[in-house]
């Protein structure tokens, strides 16, 4: 008799969690009180989730740029079109790879850290203590981390793209020997600000919202045990990654 109900729970839990997550978002936004305290907390968290993710984002961006250059030149060479390398790299990077890879890295680096931190606060009674001190933990703990992630993601995406272009330049011009004038000229004329660049910016904002919301939601609702914190961390990376790819498709289909 338990099997049908377990199956029902398994099937409905994504919908239930989506609803709970939505309500959590509304609760965060309804209680928002702009002020110095929120600003300070958000800046502190911005440093932890943003600045501390910078190194991994820059390293990955640089090597993604080099790989893109290598693959593009390899493919375009057979048509004698290696001059178009910067155009191919620029469009694929600004529209897709920049925001998507940054979001996946951000979910792995900062999202899991946020979920584990909040989950541990739950497990050690810090959230209970806050409630008993008449301090709303959603406003004090979840909101600054959410806002910090939301702000950090577009900035990190910009940094990822910049380092990826740098990697492409070093490989394509420095190693392969493409003409710098043609490289930059094609990039400047082929990659548009309003379409290519802004498409990536909007995606990064949405991904930032998704990853940050998922991380604070699972962290805040973690069971107060070691296993509960582990589950919250795992759920954060799995759900974030799936949502990033689903929303990437949805947004791309709207933009094109």
């Amino acid at each position: 008799m338990n099997q049908p109900s377990s199956l029902l729970v398994a099937l409905t839990s994504p919908v239930t969690n989506a609803g709970r997550c939505g309500l959590f978002f509304v609760r965060m936004m309804r209680g928002i009180r702009p002020g110095g305290r929120l600003l300070i907390n958000t800046l502190q968290q911005g440093y932890l989730v943003g600045a501390r993710s910078l190194v991994i984002i820059m390293i990955c961006g640089f090597f993604v740029g080099m790989v893109l250059a290598l693959q593009s030149i390899n493919a375009l060479e057979s048509f004698g079109a290696e001059d178009q390398t910067s155009l191919l790299v620029g469009k694929s990077l600004f529209r897709e790879l920049g925001p998507v890879l940054t979001a996946l890295l951000f979910a792995g680096r900062a999202g899991t850290a946020v979920a584990a931190e909040i989950g541990l606060m739950r497990a050690t009674g810090q959230i209970d203590a806050m409630e008993l001190m008449a301090i709303d933990p959603v406003q004090r703990i979840a909101l600054p981390r959410f806002l910090a992630g939301l702000i950090a993601m577009p900035l990190l995406t910009g940094m990822f793209n910049a380092l990826a272009i740098m990697g492409t330049v070093i490989f394509a011009i420095g190693v392969i020997g493409l003409d710098p004038g043609i490289f930059w000229g094609k990039l400047q004329s082929g990659v548009t600000f309003s379409e290519d660049f802004m498409q990536g910016v909007w995606k990064s904002v949405v991904f930032g919202l998704l990853v940050s919301l998922v991380a604070v939601f699972y962290g805040y609702n973690a069971k107060p045990t070691g296993a509960g914190v582990g589950t919250a961390t795992t759920n954060t990376i799995v759900v974030s990654s799936v949502l990033i790819l689903i929303f990437d498709f949805i947004m791309t289909s709207f933009f094109i």
């Binding site: 305290r37 606060m121 050690t124 810090q126 209970d128 203590a129 409630e131 008993l132 008449a134 301090i135």
Partner: protein
């Protein structure tokens, strides 16, 4: 008729199929230091969480300062909690903040005091628990006993009207126990507060509290001054106060279902 800070009437609370509190009623007079004592796992901490509105009962009423906490809105509950200080069993210090910031948090959140006054107030409270000079340490650098004293300083920093202590002496050395005991009494009397201490430690409470409730098997088994309880005829109260093995209070956990090694 005394003015009661806390009034609990016919309180029932269950966890799953296990009834933790079975029609419990008690009153805590304003200005008193009252202990709620009982063996481990009897639901003492649950009573504190019910008083602070952190848990909701199945039935019955909990009134703090005349307000029924079971009927308060979220906002009204938070307003009421500003008058209540709670020292949790594990201290629950914020691990990402220094000792100073931990104690300063309630002041920063609930007052508009300038930084200089916040610093002064925090230093006074830290000194009163014997931890002046620890303000820049992180909670991970403190011993268990020190962390509890910091948590105590944080709990009283807003000078609440009601203090709820959950096992305040556990993990403290004898000198710290005496200090904290004196601190609880002096703070209570000086600020005209009401203090409720949940503990299983009889000897530490005898010299401190005005009144005791003994909680056994989900019910109030005894109530009175410590000296009266020591002379109690109730077998459960006598067993608990004297710490004897023989008596109606079982050592083994008794769950909702009969359990034995056989099954």
């Amino acid at each position: 008729m005394p003015n009661n800070t806390v009034e609990i009437e016919d309180l029932v609370f269950s966890r799953g199929r296990r009834m933790v509190l079975d029609h419990v009623s008690l009153n805590i007079p304003q200005g008193s230091v009252v202990a709620i004592m009982g063996p481990s796992g009897v639901g003492k901490t649950t009573v504190l969480h019910l008083m602070s509105g952190h848990l909701m009962p199945d039935s019955g009423g909990v009134r703090l300062f005349g307000q029924d906490v079971t009927r308060l809105s979220h906002g009204a509950m938070y307003e009421l909690r500003r008058e209540v200080g709670v020292l949790l069993q594990n201290g629950a210090l914020f691990t990402d903040l220094t000792v100073f910031e931990n104690v300063a948090t309630p002041l920063r959140e609930h007052t508009q005091l300038p930084e200089a006054l916040i610093r002064r107030q925090v230093m006074i409270k830290l000194s009163s628990v014997g931890l002046g000079g620890t303000e820049e340490l992180m909670p991970s650098e403190l011993s268990g006993g020190m962390a509890r004293r910091v948590a105590l300083a944080r709990a009283v920093v807003l000078d609440p009207k009601l203090m709820l202590y959950d096992e305040p002496m556990t993990g403290l050395d004898p000198i710290a126990v005496s200090t904290v005991r004196r601190l609880i009494r002096e703070t209570n009397d000086t600020l005209d507060m009401t203090s409720i201490i949940v503990t299983h430690n009889v000897s530490q409470m005898l010299q401190l509290v005005d009144f005791c409730y003994i909680l056994v098997n989900g019910k109030i088994a005894g109530a009175g001054r410590p000296d009266q309880l020591l002379e109690s005829d109730d077998p459960g109260v006598r067993q608990f106060m004297n710490g004897t093995v023989e008596g109606p209070i079982p050592f083994q956990y008794t769950g909702p279902e009969n359990w034995s090694l056989a099954n």
